[in-house]
């Protein structure tokens, strides 16, 4: 069975409204999430198949790729792992969201007065239950085909779904994962144009061409694993109680402050005075000089998205 040139199809199924499916994907396999009739949001989560404590993290993904990740971007795991778990190798629409949290039972009860209603948290939980995970293990979703934005006042909004029949996204597994797509349960929101539709799922064996679409991700010392943890085992009871033998071991503490004397010429002091007069960079010469140095350094040398304001 082959439905994509050069690729072997391993699995093909349809998930109906109100449902989702947990799928084991091995490194190198590709998951396609495809519209059957269009305008349907797909919530998605994934876990390291061999350690469920490593899971997709909207926060790191949003930080590295912005609010609308698309083709060429990665789905990152949470700190302290922070590894690319899957790569988006195709996206025929380009309207994805990692800003909104998953919809939940609480949300429909609170906003709409509907106490029993399809929602992405419960759908994810039910699909994940097949692999022994609990509702507490559900994490915020990658919302594929969810068309969103942020207005001038900084408030997020949901726009009309732009996905058409046959549109799809493809995710290449960069590690063995449990991938959990679901049909978003929000039928009384704009998310899926007020109608829930099935989604088609296909799993392919990835090809060299698929791998060629993935850029080399960073490999750093701080992408940690449980072997780096001081407590290596997963806590198995719910109660929290103090470890009497605990001694704090915070990184680089105590922080040692020292003075760095910088002799400035009259001209350089004039620049500082001018910068200070704008009121934007600090109140003292030292504050302005420190601001100038670090924002200069960020602009010139920092990797990844710049966090300093464009002043």
């Amino acid at each position: 069975m082959t439905t994509s040139p050069g690729r072997k199809t391993l699995r093909e199924l349809t998930i109906e409204p109100g449902t989702g499916k947990a799928l084991e994907l091995r490194r190198g396999q590709v998951l396609r999430i495809e519209q059957t009739s269009g305008r349907q949001c797909a919530d998605f989560n994934c876990f390291n198949l061999h350690d469920y404590k490593e899971f997709f993290h909207t926060g790191r993904t949003r930080h590295l790729h912005g609010l609308h990740p698309t083709k060429g971007d990665f789905l990152w795991s949470a700190p302290p792992r922070e590894r690319p778990m899957m790569a988006i190798i195709e996206d025929t629409v380009g309207t994805n969201d990692v800003l909104y949290p998953r919809c939940s039972g609480f949300l429909f009860e609170h906003h709409y007065g509907l106490a029993v209603h399809t929602n992405c948290h419960d759908i994810q939980a039910e699909a994940q239950r097949e692999f022994g995970l609990t509702p507490d293990d559900v994490h915020d979703s990658f919302n594929f085909f969810m068309h969103t934005g942020v207005d001038a006042a900084g408030h997020p909004f949901i726009a009309k779904n732009a996905a058409g029949r046959g549109d799809y996204v493809e995710l290449l597994a960069l590690m063995d994962v449990l991938a959990v797509p679901n049909v978003c349960g929000a039928d009384v929101m704009m998310t899926s144009d007020f109608e829930l539709k099935p989604l088609k799922l296909l799993v392919f064996e990835g090809t060299d061409q698929d791998w060629s679409r993935v850029s080399e991700p960073p490999r750093l010392r701080n992408q940690r694993s449980p072997s780096d943890f001081r407590i290596k085992n997963i806590k198995v009871d719910r109660e929290l109680y103090r470890d009497a033998s605990y001694r704090p071991e915070f990184t680089n503490v105590p922080l040692q402050i020292s003075e760095l004397a910088v002799k400035l010429t009259g001209k350089e002091l004039e620049w500082i005075e001018q910068l200070k007069s704008t009121g934007k960079y600090g109140e003292t010469d030292a504050e302005v000089l420190r601001y100038a140095f670090f924002t200069w350094w960020i602009g010139k040398f920092m990797h990844g998205p710049k966090h300093a304001a464009p002043t």
Binding site: S258, V262, L264, E268, W271, T295, W296, T311
Partner: protein
């Protein structure tokens, strides 16, 4: 407008030139590590030189933009 012409404009406007002085930055060991790494990478000869380079380039961008009436 270049930083030099910006300075010349200030001079023509009758602003006095300030004399040499020392500014003391309070930095922790992590911040100094970043500075030292930049020096090791060949960006400057020493800490003071690197800070002054940053100020020069920062001022060139921000004061020129301000002098040209751009939002800075």
């Amino acid at each position: 407008m270049s930083l030099a012409s910006h300075d010349a404009r200030l001079k023509n406007a009758g602003m006095t030139t300030m004399t040499e002085s020392t500014v003391r930055l309070r930095l922790n060991q992590q911040q100094l590590e970043l500075i030292d790494n930049s020096i090791e990478a060949g960006e400057s000869g020493n800490r003071e030189e690197l800070i002054r380079r940053a100020l020069r380039e920062f001022a060139a961008t921000h004061l020129s933009a301000a002098a040209n009436g751009k939002k800075s």
